[in-house]
């Protein structure tokens, strides 16, 4: 979502979309970090040990240092600088301490506005490689595990980046349309902005569908029997219903968006429907990335350990 915000600034698109994307990015990263911490047995110790003993050779180092420190903080700085003008307006209207603190020192002159725009431009350029690296390290956590058929793949890192974009844009479309309707903001969030997001989602969705096809073809054509076992479970076995549901959700969304693009006849409710579909598909896909390989992707046969006394 920070990609959207960065692109909005670079391409001079609508600011309300950018503000929503910035806020969603900050909240999403915080929730993502909390989810991981909740999974640790001793989360405080986990945080402390991260700063004491983390090893850069591990993909987790990239996830935590680049995502939490770089990506989250950069997003907070982006939100802070982009919102200073609005905070100054709100501080003048409401005298609220939060807005006054946010806008401290802000003077609405052309020089200050130009400086803010220039800073946001360079921040946007700096954030894009950061987010690609951050999402890629998430993919590497799975992709570099040579002992896990189904996980070990060069496509995991770029796949994670693209899937994050697909689901992020879908969520942004849903939030933008909901806020537009609830707060009566049709004049601020135009149909063109939603259509632009839909077309961007179309491009990323096409890329991700291509990745799915390439992965399946590669494992079916030339994978050894461990890969085939995981692939069989996905295509025909215990995970097949979820897998094909994901494919249907993504494919239907792609067809709807592509048809609208070809006919140049866009429907906001249909774009919202595709956003719901891709988010459902992304949740199921993430489950399918983790569980089949974790349960069936073993190079050695499962072994039963029998504890012995004495």
């Amino acid at each position: 979502m920070q990609t959207i915000s960065a692109l909005v600034h670079m391409l001079k698109l609508e600011k309300p979309i950018s503000r929503m994307a910035e806020l969603l990015t900050v909240i999403s990263i915080m929730l993502g970090a909390m989810t991981i911490l909740a999974d640790l047995g001793q989360p405080i110790r986990g945080i402390v040990n991260l700063f004491l003993y983390a090893r850069p050779m591990s993909p987790f180092f990239g996830t935590f240092s680049l995502v939490i420190s770089g990506y989250l903080f950069a997003s907070l700085v982006f939100l802070y600088i982009a919102g200073r003008k609005d905070a100054a307006i709100m501080a003048a209207k409401t005298n609220n301490w939060f807005y006054r603190a946010w806008a401290v020192g802000y003077k609405d002159t052309s020089e200050v506005r130009e400086r803010h725009e220039r800073t946001l431009w360079y921040l946007a350029i700096a954030i894009i490689p950061l987010l690609i690296t951050a999402h890629s390290t998430l993919g590497f956590i799975f992709g570099i595990q040579a002992g896990r058929p189904g996980w070990f793949s060069a496509l995991q890192a770029p796949g994670f980046v693209i899937l994050a974009g697909v689901s992020g844009i879908g969520l942004l479309i849903l939030i933008a349309v909901a806020l537009r309707r609830q707060l009566n903001l049709k004049n601020r969030i135009s149909d063109d902005a939603i259509i632009w997001l839909g077309n961007f989602q179309l491009v990323l969705l096409a890329g991700y569908l291509y990745f799915i096809i390439v992965e399946i073809l590669t494992s079916r054509y030339a994978g050894h029997h461990h890969e085939i076992r995981v692939s069989d479970a996905l295509l025909f076995g215990e995970f097949s219903s979820l897998f094909w549901l994901t494919i249907v959700l993504f494919a239907v969304s792609f067809i709807i968006l592509f048809a609208q693009f070809l006919r140049r006849n866009y429907s906001i409710p249909m774009i919202v429907l595709t956003a719901i579909f891709v988010n459902l598909g992304a949740i199921i896909k993430r489950y399918l990335i983790v569980v089949p390989s974790q349960t069936l992707g073993n190079l050695l046969p499962p072994q039963v350990l029998i504890p012995q006394a004495g």
Binding site: A54, R55, P56, F73, V77, V104, Y122
Partner: protein, 66 residues
Amino acid sequence: MMRKQATIITILIGVILIIIGLTLSAPIGATLSPVISSPKMLFAPGLFVIGALLVFFSAVVYNVVE
């Protein structure tokens, strides 16, 4: 002028901390034991993180400092 100086100093301190933190965190050469692969100094990864934060904080310095 003070704004630009403060921004450049913040960025430089951040970059130096990133280099120091990464150098002290990452092992140089082949790793032969867990001891060698551990960070050479406690809190070295923390230095890296603080350096990255400072580099992005320089944007705030640039816009807030008079």
